[in-house]
Symmetry: C2
Subunit: 146 residues, 2 copies
């Protein structure tokens, strides 16, 4: 289990034709709310212990992006169970996540090509129950650690 | 970039309600062929250099499984590009992949609970262009290295 040694954040990237993520569950009075993206990238993000704002600007990418907080990515296999000792505190994680989403939005706005192409950053809500669907023309899943 | 140091195989696991993978593209005469799975696991698999058959029996899991060969998972970020020096040769990878799928099928057959529940292992074809769609009630993405 070499993964995560010395890493502060872990990202799984997947190309998509379209994707949809629930950001607020339905209640008695309101329907569930979703964010959607067209052709672009789905980015699953997990911050590990020791992550600070310094790493955020190493992580950004251009294009349409749907950013999904994904604490399960921080797990390590122990026997037949996953353990999550390496994950950052929930509050710190939520704060880094919000800053990361903001940074991606700013970066996209500053990139002329992305701005002209009308690229959008959509993001899930941290710590929420999520519902997700995705269509790809080849998943092309990548793993990045920072 | 700690990931992959000393690892021989990398798996990304994702829970799904349903998922569908193209295993043969359409031709002039035939329609595209797909494998589908219901509620279960999507497993993206990548073998790295040094992988041998010894590791296969560490990797198996119970339940409905859709296994997807995913060479992009073996990449490492170099500047702004992904490099794939660590990936195993295509022929060796195809062979390990076929053996791994067989092992998962055998394991599932031997597990009374999975057999009685009618669990099925579906698998993509190695080295093929893939088309993939997936619905989840929370992606719950996990990373495993062996």
């Amino acid at each position: 289990m070499a993964s995560g040694q010395g890493s502060n954040a872990r990202i799984v990237l997947q190309q998509c034709l379209s994707a949809r993520l629930q950001v607020q569950p339905a209640t008695e009075d309101t329907e569930a709310k979703y964010v959607e993206t067209g052709k672009g990238l789905v980015m699953y993000v997990c911050f590990l212990k020791g992550a600070t704002a310094d790493i955020l600007d190493k992580m950004d990418l251009p294009g349409n992006i749907l950013i999904i907080p994904q604490a399960t990515l921080g797990g390590a296999l122990k026997g037949k169970r996953m353990q999550y000792h390496k994950n950052i505190d929930k509050e710190e994680g939520a704060s880094l996540y919000a800053d990361f989403v903001s940074l991606c939005r700013t970066t996209l706005q500053e990139a002329e090509g992305s701005r002209e192409a009308g690229c959008v950053v959509q993001a899930g809500t941290y710590g929420n129950r999520q519902v997700f669907s995705c269509d790809t023309n080849g998943p092309y899943t990548h793993l990045l650690e920072f």
